[in-house]
Amino acid sequence: MEFALSHEQTLLGESVRSFLRDHCPIEAVRAQAATGTGCEEGLWRGLLDLGVQGLLVPERHGGTGLGLLEAAVVAQALGGAAAPVPFLCSVAMAPLALLRSGSAAQQDRWLPRIAGGEARIAMGFVGYVGGRGGAALSLDRDRLSGAAEAVLDAGAPTHFLVYLPDGRAAILGAGDAGVSVALRRTLDGTRPLAEVAFDGVEAEVLEAAADPRAAALQVLDAGRVVLAADTLGAAQAMLDRAVAWAKQRVQFGRVIGSFQGVKHMCADMATMLEPCHAFVWHAAYAQDTRSAEARLMACHAKAHLDEVGREVARMATEVHGGMGFTDLSGLHYWLKRIGFNRQVLGGPERCREEAAALQGWTA
């Protein structure tokens, strides 16, 4: 037994962090927030050079065939830099969707394009995380009709992949006739959400899974773990900044970090956040090994990081005082990223309800 990242996993995280340090300064995040497609092209190409897009694609399809734990390591690095790239869907969930529900021919066709960064796939789930009225999808043979809401990574996609309530998924081209996209800017300006309507559009249907709904839930769970990892990275970045600020800012003739009021806030953040590293790894590992606890861990990891992330985001901002509230400090990009992650693919309340149902904690 060894509960730690391997040397290779550590290096992977290092190389992505180092790349982002050079290529994703706060100015790049700010610029992206102004345009709001959620995909900074230079970053996307740079990640391709690092092999990130092929992370979950098997080697025979041109990827590196690694697991969700590696994806979580990268997601944490991306969250740490508030990097605007469509990692969640295109890199993490889409290849898993194909591996779980696609036929061999579909995998042959799609996976190499994902690994090569040519296919950028936006995704939506209808009938999984609680609908708010607007969404409904139907398939008539291979013709998709209806609408999906809160579609992720939809700023500059080449394709859409949407899950139907029965576990089947449909892929189609973003520019196909009969597809209409209403792109919405979000509170986290670096990542939009879309409402997408389909009017009898010809689609490729993924329906090779023995238990389609279970396969769909595995993809959803993987997405939740990736979001938890992203929030972990963002919250850790905020804590690191708060501690650095507390060591340099002087008031009343003292560095503010020497006041217990400030020091204890930092200690509280560290005490909440530090165990989350191990928790995210554990949840990702449970996905990779298909552990019996995998669903429970994914639900809880998402919910827990949502809660801890919100607390750390607020407290780290408070430590910065008025400066933390300004656009200049840029702290709010992480705060808003954490807030975005919280609401998508099921908020913490939803995730905990699912955890309760999984354990039979119902009347």
Partner: protein
Amino acid sequence: MDLNFSEKHRAFQAEVREFIRRHGPASPKTGGGRKRPDRKTLDWQRLLIEHGYAGRTIPREYGGYGAAPDVLEAAIIAEEFGRANVHPGIMNQGISMLVPTLLEVGTREQCERWVRPTIRGEIIWCQGYSEPEAGSDLASVRTRAVVEDGHFVVNGHKIWTSSAHYADMMFLLCRTEPDKPKHEGLSYLLLSMRTPGIEVRPLRTMTGRAEFNEVFFTDVRVPLDQIVMGRGHGWHVANITLKHERMGIGDAGKLTHRLQRLVELLRATKVDGVPLIAAAEFRSRLLRLQGEVLAWRAHNLRLLTDQARGEDPGLRRLIVKYGGTVLGHRLSALAVDALGAEGLTALSQGEDAQDDDAANWNNDYLYDIGLLIGGGTSNIQRNIIGERGLGLPREPRVPGTGGRGA
């Protein structure tokens, strides 16, 4: 990352299970409060040491089993004994705090003399640290020892001394070098509680039990060789002991076990015919807590790996006492709420009694408040996390006190 056991550890796990199957029925009852181990428990302890399930890594020459340290083996033993609800061996301050301290910095003679009877449960130790005027600011202890005709002669007053009313020995932090700066003037002495001049007064706590005592010293004579490391090194030794204490207090294994008990309680407790586990407000609190316990469980696995590699986990270790005790208290608080008004009548039947579940929860709920304070209060822990873990500066010193400001 690999959470599977190796061949060797699977074999070890089978061995432990076989031991429990054969000897488990002879185990003394678990729980039941702190008291001096009875004959049955002492016999059980010897059996455990013989098979390597207690005193496992303590050298054979000092009465232990002499196995090489292997944190996974330790984790397997704890897990299997816990699952079978079999007595895991005697746990007290002598075993968990003094013995590791002696093995780290004691002399060979001290180890030979005290480790064997301590791990067998034959010698019970108490910890003479806190004083009325030296609580969180432990290094300001005033109990003093002077050297007179070949002995230390101790005078002073300790407080919060658990087990002192039945302990055989004490490890004592006292001031021997009054002219030196605060932290450099302390020594760490080992003394018999039967020495003339010691008076023990039980101190009843909010649990209704006398878990603590006050101890008064009047010209108590301690042989000169009963000092750990040298004169003036007491602060260093005391911190080695505290390190072992704090890791024990916030233990994630205990949190997991307590969560299981809590889930059982909420399943079994019905209000208006509905089990509380299905009542929205209770279930919501339980789910929040479950997520947190899962995080600490994973954190604990990471700490085990750090230990196995011989790495100092730094910040990861420093958060354990604070985080673990706060969460532990929130778990027992939910249990108390589940018991409701009826739970208010579930009173403990005394220190040596086997209480029912409800009374145990009440006792945990109160005792946990003590754990937030003992072994360094939560506020002291947050100073330590901030300063040693995050590198934040200390409070400016107040002139004349030799330490931090108020």
